[in-house]
């Protein structure tokens, strides 16, 4: 594999992506979200200043604000990670763009990896920008220093990488719309699986918990958010124990991180193998 060809494809992907409407739409949504979050943070901080609360209760309010902000940033980024590359391969195969590209002295694997790298970079930069905006608001407006950012942010990045890898791999076989439905469907299944696992844990229903875990194995993206959420919250907030996206009732094990990495690698390998066999 030659690096220049792979990087040229990645560069082309980045270059093309930045002029796409979906990226513009995502940027506008992200800016609106940050404006809203900063406004909310301002009013929360003002309220806490005007109506002083006990330290623990104040911290709980700020943690919820911060985790909610990161959850929203993560969710917007998941949508971008899933939808931005959804027609990366299928669309170019259908339109014929791929014929010109693949007739060059470039390996099919370099095309897939180049696109993976290009779209991955866009998604990660987008998420980091949103997360920075959220953390800046909680730090400088509300005066709260978020815990365990060094662990939680990489976990959320891994979630995005899983989703954009699924989207790219699906595009080697599926049409654009089918791929979009499949990718978001997998994310939805993971999300619901997470809730089912939480409910099973809180209610002590082993079967429900097992169902959630099995779903997580087939679609591990949401477990990374749940693990990140666990690290983002201090014990006192975790102990509130509600089911939901911020819940700490059932914490995915660190083995899930290794499985998610392996799942990503396997999905990418499948995408490469599938694209190699694809008739263009």
């Amino acid at each position: 594999m030659t690096m220049p060809a792979l990087l040229t494809v990645a560069h082309l992907t980045l270059y093309d992506a930045r002029r796409r409407k979906i990226l513009t739409a995502a940027a506008i949504c992200g800016a609106l979200f940050l404006a809203l979050f900063w406004t909310v943070s301002f009013f929360v901080a003002r309220d806490l200043r005007l109506n002083p609360q006990p330290f623990v209760q104040r911290q709980i309010t700020l943690v919820i604000l911060s985790v909610f902000g990161l959850y929203a940033a993560n969710f917007l980024s998941v949508l971008l990670a899933s939808l931005l590359p959804v027609d990366a391969l299928s669309g170019e195969i259908d339109s014929g763009v791929m014929q010109t590209l693949a007739s060059k002295p470039v390996r099919r694997s370099e095309i897939v990896l180049g696109k993976w790298l290009g779209f991955g970079a866009v998604t990660v930069v987008y998420f980091l920008a949103l997360a920075t905006g959220v953390l800046a608001a909680t730090r400088f407006i509300a005066g709260y220093q978020q815990l365990n950012i060094g662990i939680a942010i990489p976990l959320m990045v891994l979630e995005l990488v899983v989703m954009h890898t699924i989207s790219i791999a699906g595009g080697t076989r599926l049409g654009t719309v089918t791929n979009g439905i499949m990718t978001l469907g997998l994310y939805g299944a993971a999300f619901i699986g997470g809730w089912v696992e939480q409910l099973g844990t809180l209610g002590g229903v082993y079967a429900l918990r097992l169902v959630g875990i099995v779903v997580s194995l087939f679609s591990p993206a949401d477990t990374m958010w749940r693990l990140a959420a666990y690290y983002l919250q201090p014990d006192i907030v975790r102990s509130l124990g509600n089911a939901g996206p911020f819940a700490g009732g059932s914490v995915p094990s660190t083995a899930m991180v290794w499985w998610t990495l392996a799942f990503t690698a396997l999905t990418l390998a499948f995408g490469i193998a599938s694209f190699r066999r694809r008739q263009l």
Partner: protein, 306 residues
């Protein structure tokens, strides 16, 4: 010894139950412009795609520029303009050609010079910095031709390169093809425009239902010259006697006969022979059979729509 740039033997491709290409065997020599002709759905585009490793053949083998199908080494010396030339339409023509040049490992000043040279040659320099999404089909094809030539290829596959071009654009492409030939570059040309193929190609292959059914060297085809004779009488002995000059291929009327000969050099001999035999010769006219007539003859009536 003539160097072969394409040597395909028994290539076959099916898509599900549909047979796209069946036992495709052909050769193309260095510096040759080779026309690949056939009706819609005959398997021409699939054949090109197999030679570019975009589609994997089910059977058969081939070498392109001396290397097996799909070899990166061969693809580095090949150019390709697809039939429906689509590129990332947010790019300008200059950016598009630059990216394709980079995929060939080209960089820096040499690449920029080559881009300017090619965009000038295809008459696209004025529009070079506008996004492709605003281009007409003809402009896209000219920009596509520039990308196909960016790596200074030794073999160029062109799939219907002039279908969206106006007459001046076609002349431009014709001139470029001749320049390529004079530089020893081989061209594999798919085109429905038979007049254009006739004026540019050295040799053509007719493909029907995925199989090459006839090949012809244009200009030098020993059987492409026909003589129409109007004389009285045209009886069996005359027909038998004329067979020494060529092949009697038709009787358009009682006093008319079509004779296929090697070239116009035999016309005086045919005239002399008829007069010496006491045949009254009213008219003798030679003409080269057009590629369109060849096409219709080779394809047969079953390929005619309607």
């Amino acid at each position: 010894m003539t160097q072969r740039v394409i040597d395909a033997r028994g290539l076959r491709k099916t898509f599900g139950q549909t047979l796209a290409v069946d036992d495709l065997s052909l050769t193309v020599d260095a510096g040759e412009i080779f026309g690949f002709l056939g009706p819609n759905g005959a398997g021409k585009t699939t054949s090109i795609k197999m030679m570019l490793a975009l589609v994997t053949p089910d059977e058969g083998e081939a070498e392109v520029l001396g290397a097996p199908l799909g070899s990166r080494e061969a693809r580095a010396r090949v150019g390709f303009l697809p039939e429906h030339c689509r590129f990332h339409d947010s790019l300008t023509a200059r950016e598009m050609v630059r990216f394709h040049g980079r995929l060939h490992g080209m960089r820096g000043e040499a690449l920029e010079r080559r881009i300017d040279q090619l965009l000038t040659r295809v008459d696209m320099l004025d529009a070079a910095d506008r996004p492709l999404r605003g281009y007409s089909k003809g402009m896209l094809q000219r920009a596509g031709l520039a990308q196909a030539l960016v790596n200074d290829p030794r073999l160029v596959f062109l799939d219907e390169p002039t279908s969206g071009l106006d007459p001046l654009g076609r002349l431009l492409v014709r001139d470029i093809l001749r320049e390529l030939r004079s530089n020893g570059v081989s061209v594999f040309l798919n085109s429905h425009l038979l007049g254009e193929v006739e004026t540019t190609c050295d040799r053509v292959a007719f493909v029907k239902q995925g199989r090459v059914v006839h090949q012809l060297t244009l200009g030098a085809a020993p059987s492409s010259f026909e003589v129409e004779i109007r004389a009285v009488p045209i009886d069996p002995s005359v027909i038998e006697g004329l067979a020494r000059f060529g092949t009697v291929v038709g009787r358009p009327g009682e006093h008319r006969l079509l004779l296929r000969v090697a070239g116009d050099a035999v016309l005086p001999d045919v005239s002399r022979w008829l007069v010496e035999r006491g045949v009254q010769l009213f008219e003798i006219r030679g003409r080269r059979k057009s590629l369109e007539e060849w096409f219709v003859d080779v394809m047969g009536d079953d390929q005619r729509p309607g």
